[in-house]
């Protein structure tokens, strides 16, 4: 991930700058098809249970996108993203209760306020590197979680905190008028998530993306090339916080009732493991991670399998990614499928009489 042992592996696929045109096109087509399926087909096909799970997938795809950006593109590891998500959700919930602003405005504000908070914390933290940065984010996340446990999430009460412990009928956090139903809100969150992915793609294709790539390769070299490393690292931090804040806003409307117990510090740890498993060098990794993190537990729950098996799987997965497959699932699965395809082609070729031996492309 961040060091020389995997740098070459990372360099091969972290290549939005050098992607062949064909692959860009294929990616664009695949994303468009997926988006259409997600928006049109899925809400009709799935039960409410799975639609809600898919809304969570959209939320966590954004969170994973932010963390993947930090880890894979810039080489900053944060162990506190769930705390950032909680901050975004808190801000959004407070605004939704206090004001009648349109939903997109609230999301934007939640993103911007979370971004400000993240940048404020990031500014001193960026002086630290690698291990120490990761551990300090873990400490800060622990702190934020405790503050949120004490202040609680807004539940329609008054005052700055908006929490009233003696409320009997807690009002639900409102949803946008066009997306009041569960399928409607699901579509809404998919659109927001797609916009966030676009935002990141724009960043990666332009100046910041190039600067981040340079910083990831070698910070001294980037510095020597005239790149303001602090500025761009902070930019990455701000962007990731913004996206996570927006995700928090979407989450607030999705669950409608927020409790601090839903954002434990250990979730940040699981999140990092799953994001690494999904793959941090490809944007697809964020989607894979979100599916692993939210859809898989829903499936297992339905099948009556304990979610603990998943925790165990994530643990094994992260060790496997770190030791042998730095690209994660998003990188490994297509590669393995291609290998399997070649193998099958080879077998088929051998079975056909007169076919050249050894089949498949070299």
């Amino acid at each position: 991930m961040l060091d020389t042992a995997s740098r070459s592996a990372g360099a091969r696929q972290r290549a939005p700058l050098r992607t062949p045109a064909g692959r860009t096109l294929a990616n664009a087509v695949a994303s468009a098809v997926l988006l259409v399926i997600a928006l049109v087909a899925l809400p009709d096909l799935l039960s409410i249970y799975y639609i809600d799970a898919m809304t969570q997938v959209a939320v966590y795809a954004m969170v994973a996108l932010g963390l993947g950006l930090l880890v894979g593109r810039v080489g900053l590891v944060s162990l506190g993203q769930v705390a950032v998500l909680a901050v975004g959700a808190w801000v959004a919930a407070r605004l939704l209760f206090a004001t009648a602003q349109p939903y997109p405005v609230v999301l934007l504000e939640a993103g911007l306020i979370t971004m400000a908070a993240g940048t404020l914390i990031g500014l001193p933290a960026l002086r630290l590197r690698g291990l120490y940065l990761a551990l300090i984010t873990l400490m800060l996340a622990g702190g934020i979680t405790i503050v949120l446990t004490t202040t609680n999430f807004p539940n329609g009460g008054h005052g700055f905190l908006g929490y009233n412990g003696s409320l009997v009928h807690i009002p639900a956090i409102r949803r946008p008028a066009i997306a009041a139903s569960d399928p409607g809100y699901y579509r809404y969150s998919v659109v927001v998530a797609a916009l966030m992915f676009l935002l990141v793609i724009v960043h990666l294709k332009t100046r910041p993306g190039r600067a981040w790539a340079a910083i990831r390769q070698s910070e001294p070299a980037a510095l020597a090339a005239g790149i303001s490393t602090t500025r761009y690292k902070l930019w990455a931090f701000a962007l990731a916080s913004f996206i996570t804040g927006v995700a928090g806003g979407v989450l607030a409307g999705a669950v409608q009732y927020l409790y601090s117990i839903d954002f434990p510090t250990q979730d940040s740890i699981t999140l990092l493991a799953v994001v690494l498993m999904g793959g941090v060098y490809s944007l697809w990794g964020a989607l894979v991670a979100a599916l692993l993190l939210q859809l898989l537990p829903a499936l297992l729950h339905n099948w009556g399998v304990s979610a603990d098996w998943l925790t165990i799987l994530f643990g094994i997965g992260v060790v496997q990614v770190l030791t042998t497959a730095p690209g994660g699932l998003a990188d490994q699965v297509p590669k393995d499928l291609a290998r399997l395809g070649r193998l099958l082609l080879g077998v088929a070729g051998r079975l056909r009489p007169g076919a050249p031996r050894g089949g498949g492309p070299p």
Binding site: A5, L128, R129, M139, G142, F314, G315, L322
Partner: protein, 297 residues
């Protein structure tokens, strides 16, 4: 504002808690120095050891045997992890090594949740026989477990310092902390010394798990992530000085418990380790030291 008398009992519990934090912190510092691994599974290993001990005691095993199993489990799991994943990750960034131990944490955590389910809200507890005895200082009740907590902290500092300074494997560990390659060239059996460090760290994890299960709670989640608090002490000492780790741990334990009777701050007391660690890491003067640390070498 509470009176002095309100604070008194919390001094004792704070010292005991600090002692156990010190135990964990020192364990992590020693392993980091010897192998460059921040062992984030420390809490999970201790928690699982304690749960195994609990099950054994419930099944009628003599208590001393259950405790021994707990401590050996910690050592065994940690040694196994170090032997399997230590070498392939030896040349990687310290961050990668630390994140890999998170993998072990998740595996153990999942296993614990699976094997010792928390359905029905029944709570488990390990009570060491030392809970009952005790004495009073002034008007403060002190249990022997609390004494053991602090004593274990002090003992681990003294033993580790002596071990590192005067014994051969200790000297080898210090040499490896400086430069693994050169140490290997000089004929030190690097792998064996590392194995010793892994095992030692695991044994400490088991012992800390047992003590914390008694002093705090026997709960997989609590114990697993309590490692974050003990890590704070090690971080304040920059993962280097054992004595400083001890001092930081005692400070964290004391402040944490002394805040408890103050109404306005009581809810925030669990933030103590995080705040102290954040301040210690972010104070600019430290930056110089950190940037020269092992991770860059």
């Amino acid at each position: 504002m509470p009176s002095w008398a309100d604070f008194q009992p919390f001094i004792v519990s704070g010292l005991a808690l600090g002692g156990v934090y010190a135990l964990s912190g020192v364990g992590m510092v020693v392993l980091y120095q010897a192998t460059g691994v921040v062992y984030l599974a420390f809490g999970a290993v201790g928690a699982m050891g304690a749960l195994i001990a609990w099950s054994l005691i419930n099944a009628g095993t003599p208590e001393w045997l259950a405790w021994l199993v707990c401590v050996l489990f910690g050592g065994g799991v940690t040694l196994a992890y170090g032997m399997v994943f230590g070498p392939p990750l030896a040349r990687r960034d310290p961050l990668v090594k630390a994140v890999a131990t998170l993998g072990l944490t998740l595996v153990l955590f999942g296993l614990m949740d699976l094997l010792w389910t928390t359905n029905g809200g029944q709570s488990r507890a390990i009570t060491l026989p030392t809970d009952n005895g005790g004495f009073t200082v002034g008007q403060i009740q002190v249990t022997w477990t609390q004494v053991i907590g602090l004593a274990a902290g002090i003992a681990i500092v003294v033993v580790t310092e002596v071990f590192l300074r005067y014994t051969k494997p200790g000297t080898a560990m210090r040499a490896m902390a400086n430069d693994r390659e050169i140490t290997a060239t000089l004929g030190v059996p690097v792998r064996r010394v590392e194995a010793a460090a892994w095992f030692g760290c695991g044994v400490i994890a088991g012992a800390a798990g047992l003590l914390l299960a008694d002093l705090v709670a026997l709960d997989a989640t609590t114990l697993t992530f309590l490692v974050i608090s003990s890590l704070a002490a090690a971080l304040i000492a920059q993962l280097r000085s054992i004595v400083l780790t001890f001092v930081a741990a005692i400070a964290i334990g004391l402040i944490h418990d002394l805040i408890t009777p103050i109404q306005a701050l009581s809810n925030y007391r669990d933030m103590t380790p995080f705040v102290l660690a954040a301040v210690a890491l972010l104070v600019p003067a430290r930056q110089q030291l950190l940037s020269q640390s092992r991770e860059e070498a």
